[in-house]
Structures are given as structure tokens and as C-alpha cells.
């Protein structure tokens, strides 16, 4: 089993969990398991044609999978995957106030 870290903005779609355990051999398999366990996450991570969205960054430990073998990157049991979405808040008002 390995852990996928779920960032705060996406936790409502992952049963409010901070981490989800999956058993997978590659990054792609791990993410597929994640959205199978939590179908509400799918549209946040994938486009309609099944590609990872451009503003969703996936890190294997501290490395961006775009600079590894992307979704084909193989996993070891003690690896950690992190989903790192863009957040905009500095919360000084305006966009925050609605």
C-alpha cells in the first residue's frame, strides 16, 4: 500500500480524507484507483477525454511526474504521491468576499 496526499481543496471529493491508500504499480494505476474509490474526484483531476488536467500537478515524493515517466512512472511501496493544485488565496478581500 502507498499513500496519496490529497490537498485541502480536493478533500471534500475524497471523503474528507487527507491521504488515501492504494496498491498500485505505476502512477497511472494509483490515480485510477483513487478516482475509482472516489468518483467525485475524477472531473477535478481529469479532462473529459481522460487526460490529467494542466493545473493539477502530481509529485512522486519531491519530483514532478512530468519530469519522470509521467503516468507510466513505477512506484515502490514506501513512495508517496502528492496532488498539488494551484491555490490563489492571500485572502485580502475581493475574490474572497463572495
Amino acid at each position: 500500500m502507498m499513500k496519496i496526499h490529497i490537498p485541502t481543496p480536493l478533500r471534500p471529493y475524497a471523503g474528507k480524507q487527507a491521504t488515501v491508500d492504494v496498491a498500485a504499480g505505476t502512477v497511472g494505476e494509483a490515480l485510477t484507483q483513487l478516482v475509482t474509490q472516489h468518483p467525485d474526484l475524477r472531473r477535478h483531476l481529469y479532462t473529459d477525454d481522460g487526460r490529467l488536467r494542466a493545473f493539477v500537478n502530481v509529485y512522486l515524493n519531491d519530483e514532478d511526474i512530468r519530469y519522470l515517466q509521467k503516468e507510466a512512472t513505477t512506484l515502490k511501496p514506501d513512495d508517496a504521491l502528492s496532488i498539488v493544485p494551484s491555490i490563489a488565496g492571500g485572502c485580502h478581500a475581493q475574490a474572497c468576499s463572495r
Binding site: 485541502t8 494542466a54 498539488v84 493544485p85 491555490i87 492571500g90 474572497c96
Partner: protein, 388 residues
């Protein structure tokens, strides 16, 4: 690494030497470092959550010139985290309130106030006058604008961002390092990422992240230590865990790559898919005003009030609506009776507009949005109701 400040070093007065003595006796700062701080010109975008601790510490540390860009007014909901403003400042311009506090901390500080919204028209001119830009904004269009303007003017972008109890910090747009677009080539479409109003933010979090930004600014000025270039620091205040991710300069980056396609500032609202304040006509037609809702409820009409906020918001105040949070609506839609007339509301009317759109697509015909949400109810129907 070299200092980000290129100006000739000014002399310190005896009063300044006394004030900065704890810096001067440190080898990493010393007289030359303190003179670099005095020569430095730092621009803070926003005098809010991140800008408060950032500006306060930079002023105290002896940064010579601090520019602040802000056009906002202090309100009560700011005070939980924007520590540069006090209760007596509510209603004042944030610029004036901030400048007063900063000047009180350090009368040697030269403050430059820019009461304007940062835009593609003014950003380049503004940035040229400063050495370092500290980004404390709260929305995607301004994030991309600050980044691109930093790349185009060659100024480091000291970045911080927060959501609930999570933060991010990095230093972007240095010559050798990646920029914000290398990390996030595109913004999320509006509505897909929960907004701050739905999310909230722990009051101390901008304190943590803003102080990290201040630390990075000072390191860049001194030219000491290892700046957060090519590293994204993730802060989780709830678990008090700090993680670090590697960032790489993307050779195909449209603004800082080897063959840039963005060579001047663009329309960032359009880039982020935001088309101003216009609302679809259909939504306008479907709106109900709070006075009308009150009158019809008092008259005993058969109206179903649907509250699409979160349970913890319901605890703050409610109008006895039936609670289904917006995110749960798809799987709980069977709890609603489509033959009844439904009025949906949230805090201000944004989330309930999405709920109305969703219900209409699901085949509900008689569904309206309460204009202005429970805030309008508190303003115009029940003044005793708390606002948040």
C-alpha cells in the same frame, strides 16, 4: 549568490546603527548587509493577510523603500488575520492604515502608496522602480499578471499563497529559476476550485506564510543563504508539516522558456476565463429578492427554502432552510420534490446560483435563487441576524 539590490550603498545614521544593532553584530548581515537593506526597494502587492506580516517585518528590518499596491478598505472580517489593521481602522483605506503602522514601527522607512488595482496597463512601469516584488494577492488573474510582469522586467517574485490551513511559498522568476507558469502553465477554470468564501482561512496561516515571504525577501537583498528558488514549500498548519517539492524551469514555458510566446502582458481575466460581473439572463430571471421571500413566507405560501451552505455555516445563522451543501446536491437531489416551488440560498448568492443551474438541468422547473443570499436577509429583513 549576488544581492538583488544594485544601488550604491547609503550611509547609516547613528540612530539607525543603534536601531539595527542586533543585525549589525551578525556576520550574515553586518554593516554592508544593513546598507543593502536600506538601499532596497520592495513592492508588496496587497496589504491584506500576507501583506500584513510581510510589510511589518520588512519595515522593522530596515528595508529602505516599501511600495504597497492596494485599493481596498478595511472591514471587520479582515481583522481575524490582517494584523497591520486594527479595529479603529475599519472603513479606512488599507493603504493609509498600513502606512501609519509601518511608519510608527520605523520612521526611517520610505513608503510609497499606490492606490490602484494592479493591471496589464500599470504593472511594468510600477515594477521597474523596485528590486523585488512580493505577491500577496488573492486571485488567479493577478497571480499570472504578477508572474509575467516579474519575468518581463527581470524582478524576482516572492510568492506566497494560502487556503484554509495550507500554504505554499516559493521564489519565482529569477534568471536561473522557474516561474509560476513553469509550475502551473494554466489556471483552473472558474468554479472548479473552491473559492475562499467556501473555504475560509485559519487566521495565523497568512502570518506563517507572509513571514516566510519576508525572510526570502531579506535573503535576496542580502544575497545570503539558499533562497526558495526551484523549490515549492508546502505548509500544513493543521499537522504542522512542511514538505518541499522540486521545481524545474520549463524550457517550453510560454513566458520564461527558450522561445517565449508571451512577450508582453495580456488580458488576465480572459486568460483565467473570467468575464467580469455579467450574469446569464436566465439566472437574473430566476432571482427572488429577500423582501419578496419574507412576504410570501409570512403569507403562508408553499415555498421550499433550500440552504446550500455548509453545516458549520448553518450554525452561524439560518432561515430554517433545508440544508444540502452544494457539493452534496448531486447525490441528494432525490430528497427534493420537483413539483414544489424551491428558493435556494447560500451566503451571498453565488453558490445557490450554481445550485439553481444544476437543478434546472436536472429537470426542476420552479426553482429560484435568493438574490444576495442570507447576507441580504440580514441587511434588509432581520437586522439581528449575524453576518459573516
Amino acid at each position: 549568490m549576488p544581492s538583488a539590490v544594485e544601488a550604491a550603498l547609503p550611509v547609516l545614521s547613528n540612530d539607525e546603527i543603534l536601531r539595527y544593532s542586533r543585525h549589525l553584530i551578525m556576520p550574515e548581515v553586518g554593516m554592508e548587509g544593513q546598507q543593502k537593506l536600506k538601499a532596497a526597494k520592495v513592492l508588496c502587492i496587497g496589504a491584506g493577510g500576507l501583506g500584513s506580516p510581510l510589510a511589518l517585518y520588512l519595515a522593522a528590518a530596515g528595508v529602505g523603500t516599501l511600495g504597497i499596491v492596494d485599493f481596498d478598505v478595511v472591514d471587520f472580517t479582515n481583522l481575524q488575520r490582517q494584523i497591520i489593521h486594527s479595529t479603529a481602522d475599519v472603513g479606512r483605506k488599507k493603504l493609509d492604515s498600513a502606512a501609519e503602522k509601518l511608519k510608527a514601527i520605523n520612521p526611517f522607512l520610505n513608503i510609497r502608496k499606490f492606490e490602484t488595482r494592479l493591471s496589464s496597463e500599470n504593472a511594468l512601469e510600477l515594477f521597474k522602480e523596485f528590486d523585488i516584488i512580493a505577491d500577496g494577492t488573492d486571485n488567479f488573474p493577478t497571480r499570472y499578471l504578477v508572474n509575467d510582469a516579474c519575468v518581463l522586467t527581470g524582478k524576482p517574485n516572492v510568492y506566497g499563497s494560502i487556503f484554509r490551513f495550507e500554504g505554499q511559498a516559493s521564489v519565482f522568476a529569477t534568471k536561473e529559476g522557474p516561474c509560476y507558469r513553469c509550475l502551473y502553465p494554466e489556471p483552473p477554470p472558474p468554479g472548479l476550485v473552491p473559492s475562499c468564501a467556501e473555504g475560509g482561512v485559519l487566521g495565523i496561516l497568512p502570518g506563517l506564510v507572509g513571514v516566510m515571504q519576508a525572510t526570502e525577501v531579506i535573503k535576496l537583498i542580502l544575497g545570503k543563504g539558499e533562497p526558495l528558488i526551484g523549490r515549492l514549500l508546502l505548509i500544513d498548519a493543521l499537522d504542522m508539516k512542511f514538505r518541499e517539492l522540486k521545481l524545474r524551469k520549463n524550457p517550453d514555458c510560454p513566458v520564461c522558456g527558450t522561445h517565449p510566446t508571451i512577450t508582453q502582458l495580456i488580458d488576465y481575466n480572459e486568460f483565467c476565463g473570467i468575464r467580469g460581473e455579467e450574469k446569464p439572463v436566465e439566472t437574473l430571471v430566476a432571482e427572488v429578492q429577500v423582501e419578496e421571500l419574507k412576504r410570501r413566507l409570512d403569507a403562508g405560501e408553499d415555498l421550499f427554502v433550500l440552504d446550500v451552505r455548509e453545516p458549520h455555516e448553518y450554525q452561524i445563522c439560518n432561515i430554517n432552510g433545508y440544508l444540502i451543501p452544494l457539493g452534496d446536491l448531486p447525490k441528494r437531489v432525490h430528497e427534493l420534490d420537483s413539483s414544489r416551488e424551491i428558493v435556494a440560498h447560500c451566503r451571498s448568492g453565488v453558490r445557490s446560483a450554481k445550485a439553481v443551474d444544476f437543478l434546472r438541468e436536472a429537470g426542476f422547473k420552479k426553482v429560484h435563487n435568493l438574490a444576495g443570499g442570507i447576507l441580504a436577509w440580514a441587511d434588509r429583513v432581520d437586522p439581528k441576524m449575524p453576518k459573516y
